[in-house]
């Protein structure tokens, strides 16, 4: 347990976060520095920089295209991403001293239930099934696993918020403190670390790629 605690609790967080940031940076750098890509414009192009930003923002915040094309899928994916945002919000405020318990609980519920729902939508809809490779389901399963262990931890482990905050602050100030307590917490940590390493190499990097497909290809006019 101690060795696992040390590796998962004190070493891997840095490795995972490092790889996460580094790999994303490398991919963005690669995309940003490719010169003379084909300008394959797609009209209408929002008129002017601010209109383009508004368009992107609208798309990112509302998932307009999916909403327009598949309401069932939209509901699941939108709420799922809201769940991720809630957890991120909780984390940022938590290490700054607040504890938005409701945001955390809602976030965890969403990242558990929505992928389950999305999984069933994907399996039931023959068109979606035809374009899905196993990795699509795997991506959803990672979230289900993280969410389920989170739910279990909150329900049965009842961790002390102060101890957890102390642990995160220790990590953030590069003085990791040993992680007291449950295997469930370790389990969540390990899954999240795996996710952070895996994420930049997966298609989930679409949160960044979108900018390039619009800005460097579709919105280049002639």
């Amino acid at each position: 347990m101690n060795v696992a605690g040390l590796v998962i609790g004190a070493v891997l967080p840095y490795v995972a976060a490092g790889l996460f940031l580094f790999s994303i940076a490398v991919r963005i750098y690669r995309w940003a520095t490719i010169r003379h890509p084909l300008k394959w414009s797609l009209y209408p192009i929002p008129d002017g920089r601010s209109a383009q930003l508004v368009f992107m923002l609208k798309e990112v915040l509302s998932f307009r295209a999916v909403f327009h094309n598949n309401r069932k899928l939209w509901l699941g994916s939108w709420l799922f991403h809201i769940g991720i945002a809630l957890i991120a919000l909780w984390f940022v405020t938590f290490v700054s001293g607040l504890h938005l318990g409701l945001a955390l609980r809602a976030g965890i519920a969403l990242i558990t239930l929505m992928p389950l729902y999305l999984l069933s939508v994907r399996l039931i809809n023959p068109g979606l099934r035809a374009v899905s490779s196993p990795i699509e389901y795997f991506n959803l399963l990672i979230f289900i696993a993280i969410g389920a262990s989170g739910t279990a931890l909150l329900t049965f482990g009842k961790p002390d918020p102060e101890a957890v905050r102390g642990y995160f602050l220790g990590l953030l100030s590069f003085h990791p403190v040993p992680l007291a307590g449950s295997g469930l917490f370790l389990c969540i940590l390990a899954l999240s670390e795996f996710f952070m390493i895996y994420f930049p190499n997966s298609r989930m990097l679409h949160m960044v790629s979108k900018y390039f497909t619009y800005d460097k290809i579709s919105w280049e006019s002639h």
């Binding site: 690669r30 995309w31 490719i34 010169r35 003379h36 890509p37 084909l38 300008k39 394959w40 414009s41 797609l42 009209y43 209408p44 192009i45 798309e59 998932f63 307009r64 295209a65 999916v66 327009h68 094309n69 598949n70 899928l73 994916s77 994907r122 809809n125 023959p126 068109g127 979606l128 099934r129 035809a130 374009v131 899905s132 490779s133 196993p134 990795i135 699509e136 795997f138 190499n201 298609r203 990097l205 679409h206 790629s209 979108k210 390039f212 497909t213 619009y214 460097k216 290809i217 579709s218 006019s221 002639h222």
Partner: protein, 465 residues
């Protein structure tokens, strides 16, 4: 659908087994192909794909398009073909996945290691056959691209897929033969010799005189003119009214223009299957403009010709010229009062079809509408229209492939037929030569009470001198 998919897969596998067992010459049931390569298709395909992946103009978009699809099928909801057939091979994302499978298997570490888990698949002969079919069922209309939340353009992947197949000589015979004729033969896709072309221009001049009483000229080889006008050569045979209307408009607007008689075909089939052909044809066009020392190039109503010139000039062009579509020019002349049109002479209801290459491809949505509105009394929109307009069903060059006739009439064109019917229009104005041909065939096949015209056709009657 899953059962059909399964059946399809078994059928395909069995077909392939039979061909390999009998060791017979491969046959392509989809359309006629001239001199396809028979051996080493797999290594050549993979090698060509590698070249395309390293190509500077495609590197970024392929990295993005091949890696970030979220498999949400928004594209399928937008596809005029899938909405009719509901066949797996017509799902835009499924089609693109054919390329993704090869890319992952041979060009990514993850794919080599994890295989089918990440959608990587070893390339087999039957996969190439499936691509030959699927990439030519897509009409490359890009309606799906408008609705992709990731900004992926499946039509461009179709084009790249076709280009790779093209390197294996796996392209419809009608493309390769016409392109050879344009590049190495007589100099245009319809095989019209210069003398016959000159006669046609004279004939059109006489026609205009007979019809309207006005003397309108088709100026030829005028060195130093402001505009070189070039249209698909087929228009001179099939769309005489469009060209007459165009010449009348250009003359009435006081345009300094000329037609080159060394190269007079704007058709560039390269857009549909080959970068090499795209580049060669485009450079012949630019060389003609250079020879005539014109300032700008004015392309006829045709969409793919305008798009190819505008899009690929920076990439392949030996020379640079500003390129405009003639409808942009005419609309401007109508707006600033150089052209006066009388809508009273065209009383019937007219609608307008947005060709994919002019609309989504170049953003030319309003200019043609301005002309049609000025020249007719009752204009109605097709629903949906502009960037959501449906493809005529013959896009991506498929209209030139006779083997695809039944497919175009019954499947690819089905949505268009519905759309035309519900518009109630008596005339449908369509600028593209490609769309016009398909629409005319659809009208005949489905006995629709509509006449297909070009945009400038409407000017013949309505132009006020």
């Amino acid at each position: 659908m899953p059962q059909t998919a399964k059946k399809e897969e078994t059928k395909m596998r069995n077909n392939d087994k039979q061909t390999t067992e009998k060791k017979q010459k491969r046959s392509y049931p989809f359309y006629a192909i001239e001199n396809p390569i028979e051996h080493d298709r797999i290594p050549v395909f993979i090698k060509t794909m590698g070249t395309v992946l390293r190509d500077e103009k495609y590197r970024l978009l392929l990295d993005l398009y091949l890696n970030t699809c979220a498999s949400c099928n928004s594209c399928a909801e937008q596809c005029h073909l899938y909405q009719v057939t509901h066949e797996r091979k017509d799902l835009p994302a499924y089609r693109s996945n054919m390329l993704r499978a090869v890319y992952r298997k041979y060009f990514t570490r993850g794919g080599r290691l994890l295989g089918r888990l990440v959608g990587a698949k070893e390339l087999h002969e039957e996969d190439i056959d499936a691509m030959i079919e699927s990439f030519y069922r897509c009409t490359m209309c890009r309606r799906c691209a408008v609705e992709c939340p990731m900004g992926i353009d499946n039509a461009l992947l179709t084009r790249i897929g076709r280009c790779i197949l093209g390197e294996l000589n796996l392209a419809p015979k009608n493309f390769t033969v016409s392109s050879a004729q344009e590049l190495k033969g007589i100099g245009n896709t319809s095989g019209i010799p210069k003398e016959a072309f000159m006669d046609t221009l004279d004939f059109l001049q006489d026609e205009i005189k007979d019809m309207t009483g006005h003397k309108v000229e088709f100026p030829r080889d005028k060195v130093g003119a402001e505009y070189m006008f070039i249209a698909p050569v087929s228009d001179y045979i099939m769309e005489a009214d469009t060209l007459m209307g165009t010449a009348m408009a250009l003359q009435a607007a006081g345009t300094d223009w000329t037609i080159g008689t060394s190269f007079y075909d704007a058709i560039n089939y390269g857009l549909f299957y080959s970068d090499g052909v795209t580049s060669d044809v485009l450079n012949r066009l630019l060389t003609e403009a250079q020879r005539l020392k014109v300032k700008k190039i004015l392309i006829g109503e045709c969409g793919h010709a305008t798009k190819t010139a505008k899009l690929f000039m920076d990439v392949f062009g030996k020379y640079r010229f500003p390129v405009r579509n003639v409808m942009e020019y005419t609309a401007e002349a109508v707006k600033d009062g150089r052209l006066k049109l009388d809508p009273e002479v065209n009383q019937e209801t007219v609608t307008y079809h947005d060709p994919c290459n002019l609309g989504r491809g170049l953003g030319i949505y309003e200019a043609p509408r301005a002309i049609v509105r000025a020249a007719t009394k009752h204009f109605v929109e097709l629903q949906p229209n502009r960037e959501r307009n449906y493809c005529c069903g013959g896009g991506g060059g498929s209209v030139t492939v006779p083997d695809l006739y039944d497919f175009r009439m019954n499947l690819a064109g089905a949505k268009k037929v519905e759309q035309i019917k519900s518009s109630g229009a008596k005339y449908i104005a369509a600028p593209c030569a490609n769309c016009k041909k398909q629409l005319k065939e659809l009208v005949e096949y489905h006995k629709l009470p509509v006449t297909v015209v070009g945009v400038h056709d409407l000017l013949i009657k309505s132009l006020v001198y």
